[in-house]
Amino acid sequence: MLVPLLDASPWALFIGRFHPVLVHLPIGFLLIAALIELGRRTGKIAVSESTVVFVLFWSAVSATFACVAGYLLSLGGGYDEDLLGAHMWKGIGVAVFAWVAWLVKSDRIGSKIAFGKAVYLPAFAAAVVLTMTAGHDGGSLTHGDGYLTQYTPEPFRSLAGMDPIEEKAKEVKPITDIQQAVVYKDIVQPILEARCTQCHNASKKKGDLRMDELALLMKGGENGPALVPGKGAESDMIKRCLLDESDDNHMPPKGKPQLSTEQIALLAWWIDQGAPADKKVSELTVPDPVKPALASLGGGSASGGSGAAKQKESAIATLKVSPAKEADIQALRKAGLIVNTLSQDQNLLEVSAVNAPNFTDKDIALLIPLAEQITWLKLGGTQITDGALKDVAKLKNLTKLHLEHTAVTDNGLAEIKALPHLEYLNLIDTKVGDAGLKNIAASKTLRSVYIWQSAVTDSAVAQTGRQNPALQIVNGFSQAEVAQFLKAGDSTATKPVASKK
């Protein structure tokens, strides 16, 4: 029975998987035994020595089983050899010392051993210390090295001589222009990091395969190369992704986050193209079926002016403010404004002056008591001027601002450029000019600004657009564009170019 168990048979792996369950028993038992011993010796509790010995016995038994299960688990492979060795020998040490400590105290044998008493405490202490260190090694094997102390706070961090916490440096940076994206670094690697490297890394190389570095990925694992450059369909990593999820060879394993169809298509395409390390999208041929997958990465139309396909979530999704006073809302309604609550629980407000065309700079003071809550504000078509924007600048949670068909100018915009959450700004049919646009474009949060029929010139649109690729500046149509539109069959993407009607 035992012999076949020593191979990586299903039985062995079945029992091996119980290692994480069993391993906590000796830890608990040993610590309890140590505590009781401590309490007994300091006179805090009144228990007999046999209690300690009884607990010690079960510590030794459970430690032995944990060792066996641990060995069987290790047959599955995929662990860092050095760390695994240290963990194993320390674990065996725990069992051995626990047995020794028990033996010298046991009724039958204890009295026959010379120096028994002298051995007891050191063996006990060794077992306890080894439990701690073996446990730590086990944690490192499962979760990766440095898991325990990854988020050590200051000042302990500097005291221990650790590097500052990495601010998720690996975070995938948004692709602004897909054509300029480096396929491996910007597309393939983020996919692998999100779905593969958790198990295929330096400390946990399942199947002896590491996917965290290109060279190691190329080298492959125990089942041979993970990919065949130029042949995506014949590459093991693609085949495994395409297998049915219930298949044992399917990757990622059942229950783990799976790759999307687009992600698989992108990986296969990259391999088809020879798995290059530093080629850009524009340097490779992109077959039709891959185009939608590439487009789904966003930035596909950075030059086309239609904005990124995948925007980051608006601030209004997370902002939460205190409820507005009903009297303040009623005051606005009395002035003819429409006040709606944006969503339950957030208390953000949408205020519109669509029915109050006579709204002036003087009325703007009504908004101030709601400075925290107002996030969408529509003042389009009202009598307001730059004077009002001084107060609008106090609406710190403003994300959308409609100023179309008003008399605001560059001076007014200077007031609101510091709004910390502003995402949408409508300046259609205003006196805003080039200076105002450049000024407001400096905002890091602003995503779209509409400037048809304003005083902004085409060259300013082009220049500001180049400097702020994430900002969508939408102008009216040029006569040429209208003419082109009217002529059927135009196949270019929308491109709101400068120049107005």
Binding site: A317, S343, S352, V354, T494, K501
Partner: protein, 493 residues
């Protein structure tokens, strides 16, 4: 005669006593019922039932911040062929003229197809457009220019193969009459954004109303104030909206105030919520006398805008309705529903087919739809406004053989297994395609979207969890998606 009179008197007394009884004894009961009727559990419709106010003035509160503040829903009644416009099937071309495989016919019901029909290859020439590489046919030369704004739903499916029930299912969530429409739910949940205009406006073109009639934009069991208000596309948008001779605005105002006062008294007595609706409609009508002619006046639009939509002031058309839709959402109308009739391409005559007939329908509609998207975008409205395009179902990959006879023109029968719809703006992905059909375009094989899923997604974009947005009626909570529907998260930007 005398006998008859006495009988009448007797009946009157009976009725009176019953009414008095109900009034005195049943008052508490009545208000109780009203409370449960209006104390809706979905959005916190504060003030909805409170007093005799304007039910549209105080809005409900969505469950989460909406991405789409407004919707323009373009419904092509009759159902255009996805195989000619959006869903390119080169394989179908190869099977053109061959018998339909038996597996497509076994156990299936069609509106008209009988026996074994022939397959019908795509009639349009397809190519890919925009950076997203969207497949579109030469039937839609203008839509190509805005392909990168659109998310296509290529594997839509429904349960109904006849126009009226399918339209009801699409717009009200049920194939039977009596449920509120999508627009009614939206206005009920979100309220109106403009006090002077209805929150839900309907514009129809194509010479006929949709087959399911006004129920596709009705309020169902919601208070009728939420139903769609249909405006005319040409001439006076609302008939008799101008004051007749001899009636000045002041007299009109006093008249309406007097009527409303009487109505308010009646409401205090019987507490029928429909009275509130009537009061608010009188008030709305009075305000609309000013607001509607102004909003619906296209004569001040720049010439290039009129050119792009291809419209002339004063002439009603689908194009005009697109322009009006833009003007309405510009004035914060919550839900604008466009219907255009004449897309039922069976192949029975020179207009109802998928060749010339469909082509001429596209010639009328393609340009204004593309112009609408460009126009919305230019004005900063597209990112706040969801544009939905589609029909009640799609059309078969087989050529129709009504009564076993081959039709005089290329035509296709109603098809519920797979068809295409699209959405743009209002928080959906730009330049995206979701779902796939099989090689012949018969079944959806990947990412199928049922009409209930579409409804759930539209509600989601407007800030509502479709499972929690309910209205209690006849003892249970109703919702638009009934017991089904799943939000299609993949199409949300």
């Amino acid at each position: 005669m005398e006998k008859l009179l006495r009988e009448l008197q007797h009946a009157d007394v009976l009725r009176q006593t019953r009414r008095h009884f109900l009034q005195s004894a049943g008052f508490g009961l009545g208000t109780l019922g009203l409370g449960s009727l209006l104390g809706s559990c979905g959005p916190s419709a504060a003030g909805d039932a409170a007093g005799a106010g304007d039910p549209l003035a105080s809005a409900g509160i969505p469950q989460f911040a909406p991405k789409a503040k407004r919707v323009i829903y373009i419904h092509m009644a009759g159902a255009p062929s996805q195989l000619e416009l959006f869903d390119y099937k080169p394989e179908l071309e190869k099977y053109h003229g061959k018998d339909c495989p038996a597996e497509f016919l076994e156990g299936k019901k069609f509106a008209f197809i009988q026996g074994v029909p022939k397959m019908l290859g795509p009639q349009g020439k397809f190519a890919r457009y925009g950076q997203s590489g969207a497949w579109l046919s030469d039937y839609l030369p203008h839509l190509q220019t805005v392909a990168d704004e659109i998310t296509f739903l290529k594997a839509m499916h429904t349960d109904q193969f006849n126009h009226a029930p399918a339209q009801l299912l699409l717009h009200t969530g049920s194939a039977r009459l009596g449920r509120p429409s999508l627009g009614a739910w939206a206005v009920y949940g979100l309220g109106s954004e403009n006090r002077n205009l209805p929150g839900f406006i309907v514009l129809a073109s194509g010479g006929r109303q949709p087959d399911a009639g006004k129920s596709v934009y009705g309020a169902g069991f919601l208070p009728s104030v939420y139903q769609g208000v249909q405006c005319r596309t040409g001439g006076d948008p609302v008939l008799y909206v101008t004051d007749p001779k001899g009636m000045n605005r002041n007299i009109r105002k006093q008249t309406i105030e007097a009527i409303n006062e009487i109505n308010r008294q009646t409401y205090e007595e019987v507490r029928d919520p429909e009275i509130l609706t009537r009061i608010s409609q009188y008030e709305m009508a009075f305000r609309m006398q000013m607001s509607v002619p102004e909003v619906m006046d296209v004569s001040k639009e720049p010439q290039f805008i009129l050119d792009m939509y291809g419209v002339k002031p004063g002439e009603g058309s689908f194009g005009m309705n697109c322009l009006l839709a833009r003007k309405l959402v510009e004035n914060d109308v919550r839900f604008v529903q466009l219907f255009d009739w004449g897309w039922d391409g069976h192949g029975t005559n020179a207009t109802d087919n998928v060749e010339g007939g469909l082509r001429s329908k596209c010639e009328i509609s393609d340009r204004p739809i593309a112009a609408l998207i460009k126009d919305l975008k230019m004005r900063g409205l597209l990112e706040e406004t969801l544009v939905v395009f589609g029909a009640e179902f799609g059309r078969t990959p087989m050529q129709e053989n009504r009564n076993g006879v081959v039709m005089p023109y290329m035509g296709r029968d109603h098809h519920l297994e797979a068809y295409t719809m699209w959405m743009a703006g209002g928080g959906v992905k730009q330049g995206h395609s979701h779902g796939e059909t099989d090689e012949l375009g018969y079944y959806g094989v990947k990412d199928r979207v049922h009409v209930h899923d579409l409804q759930a997604t539209i509600l989601h974009l407007m800030g509502f969890d479709h499972e929690k947005f309910t209205y209690p009626f006849q003892g249970r909570n109703f919702r638009l998606t009934d017991t089904e529907g799943k939000v299609v998260k993949q199409v949300i930007a």
